[in-house]
Symmetry: C3
Subunit: 273 residues, 3 copies
């Protein structure tokens, strides 16, 4: 089933509008191309409405936000809502600064979001108005583990229900919920955390997946998470002596490029709760 979600991306080639940080933007563009979608980047308020209008979905990532691009996020988001395009929010660093927390919270309030993807610290910040985010990586105190899994699944469901969209909480264990059901996903490798932007890349891919699977957004979001994690596993299996995080980055995107529905269905490791 998840494999079909990937195949639908390859078949329909969704054009995804990204307002994303300049740190990882190149990798986001390449992973979108790798999974079969087509990326376009635009963050200027006077440009974003036209651009989002010709796209199928919108990916908003607040990673290196500034006052001009925040304005672009609202303008693009409202236009995408008007056109009933799926909109994803990646609240990078929510909890790390007032501007980031406020921007993410207000985007949630003012826009109809299809999905929110972040680490547990960021999502807790959005849920509770406070968090223990330290920088842009999840705090250890907030990690999703087998020990706290039941509680975190309940939290994911509640957050999804309250925010009225798919909640994707990614980390060592990934959770994807629509408020009723929760995918618990165990793909991926810890070494992915040593590459900048695997989260940003996943947000781009997830936007493509939900855009290409409009009737089935929960499964599509889960498929994107499994695909990214599986690519991390496949990419790691191709590493040789002396390779490090820079080569690993390439290998992961390469693995997405070579993935088809069958590979994804065979490699996806998840349970539904």
């Amino acid at each position: 089933m998840l494999g079909t979600c990937l195949e639908n991306v390859r078949k329909t080639v969704p054009l995804v509008h990204n307002i994303t940080n300049y740190v990882t933007v190149n990798d986001v563009a390449n992973v979108l191309l790798a999974c079969g979608a087509s990326p376009i980047m635009s963050d200027e308020p006077k440009d974003v409405e036209d651009i989002t209008a010709i796209c199928g979905g919108l990916n908003i990532n607040i990673g290196t936000l500034n006052q001009r691009t925040i304005e672009g996020m609202y303008a693009a988001g409202r236009k995408a809502n008007e056109l009933c395009h799926p909109v994803l929010l990646d609240p990078v660093g929510a909890g790390a600064s007032a501007l980031r927390t406020d921007t993410a919270v207000r985007l949630m309030e003012e826009l109809k979001l299809t999905a929110i993807r972040g680490n547990i610290s960021e999502i807790k910040t959005l849920a509770l108005g406070s968090g223990t985010t330290k920088g842009v990586d999840a705090d250890v105190a907030d990690a999703v583990t087998e020990e706290n899994l039941d509680g975190t699944v309940a939290f994911a469901k509640e957050f999804a229900k309250k925010s009225g969209c798919i909640a994707a909480i990614t980390g060592a264990i990934d959770l994807v919920s629509d408020g009723e059901t929760c995918y618990v996903i165990r793909n991926g490798r810890s070494e992915m955390g040593k590459i900048t932007g695997t989260g940003c890349q996943l947000s781009g891919m997830m936007t493509a997946f939900v855009t290409a699977n409009p009737g089935n957004v929960l499964e599509a979001a889960a498929a994107a998470v499994c695909a990214m994690g599986l690519a991390g596993e496949i990419g790691w299996s191709r590493m040789t002596e002396g390779d490090g995080n820079s080569t690993y980055r390439n290998r992961i995107i390469d693995a997405v490029y070579n993935m088809d529905g069958e590979i994804l269905d065979k490699g996806a490791k998840y349970e539904v709760r």
Copy 2:
């Protein structure tokens, strides 16, 4: 002959000022270094005149334009014109938004351009004031094919003549014309479209080539197109099982790095019409 154009870049190490999008800027810098040129990036209006003054050529790419950088494009372009430096325009996404179309058209009107490089949709937008651009990739309806080649060559010549500069229309078949003559180039591979920024990289390289070959800009522009396409062929020949678009990106820049005039002359596939 084309090989000599590349050798001239390696001999003279032109310093190229780039006002370019933040998606592919790193690859543009590395491909400029790979072909023997030296890149500098600056888009702040208060910085660009000084920077362009110490450079040999200017590459303007509107890929992630904003109001500040548009002002920088005009300021840099006017200064470059004053100093008789070659100026290249890459109208990324012309036709996809009013801001992009208007900016590209106005830059053409207000600056003396040496070359314009875009896909057929973007160039048609500039020529006709309307197009069928969908995003930043050429629309299928606009593709240059063997079937419509005669008409497209005529269009390229006419566009070059009217705009008073080299027109480089790139796609499956590439056309480079000065209004009288048209190079029809068949280097490259379709898989290059699965990497973000091969067009942006080519625009950077073309600026270096025309800067290093001031008396011979048509041939220099054609040489840059052949070099990029040939690098795509050489890079592809080094791909192994499991490699994808991310590795391909590296292999293409690597191939430019290892290319010399002889390799280019042997590998260039073109006819002159």
Copy 3:
């Protein structure tokens, strides 16, 4: 000893706030992760104070400065000073434009810097108010060579003493001085100059090293320089036929990822004057 400085980065995982150019920002983030640190990027004046407050060190790189980010540099720098965090300045292109020279000089005047890292042209510009910078690469006339080494070591010491911080002048031979002592470092390869951003990467790493070794900043800065140069040597040794600057970029970051204190201590080539 130098190896201990690297081990301290891996042990303490310093969070480094980077205000850096969009050309090489992704590589800066990945090299920080490779050496064991954690990167965060933020340049919006309304965001930088919160961000720098949760970090351990601040890396200011003026590579693609604009008026908004310059404001961010001051705001972050003042906050970091208030919190006694180490602050590094990379004056990219000082001497190439009035805005860059003025910004770098004023940052030196208004902030308490821990270290300045640049090429000899940039540092001479800061010292003398004029230079021979052409673009962002050191001018040949300014190169540090065995012939002018004594004079340049004296210059490095004097510059460090006057500016009250570590001076790191990098090129074919690297000099790192605190005003009294000068490390003369001969790691690295000339081919590193064919990759964009090895200097920016080093500035990021050096910030991590001085942050993780607060009582020992001179040695920490020298260790970062040796580590980067040694990574360039190790990375080069893994290059194969047909590889070029793009693959070399990956191999260097990979080499940092796989480096430990012992490797650094064995591979570091330096004398102390």
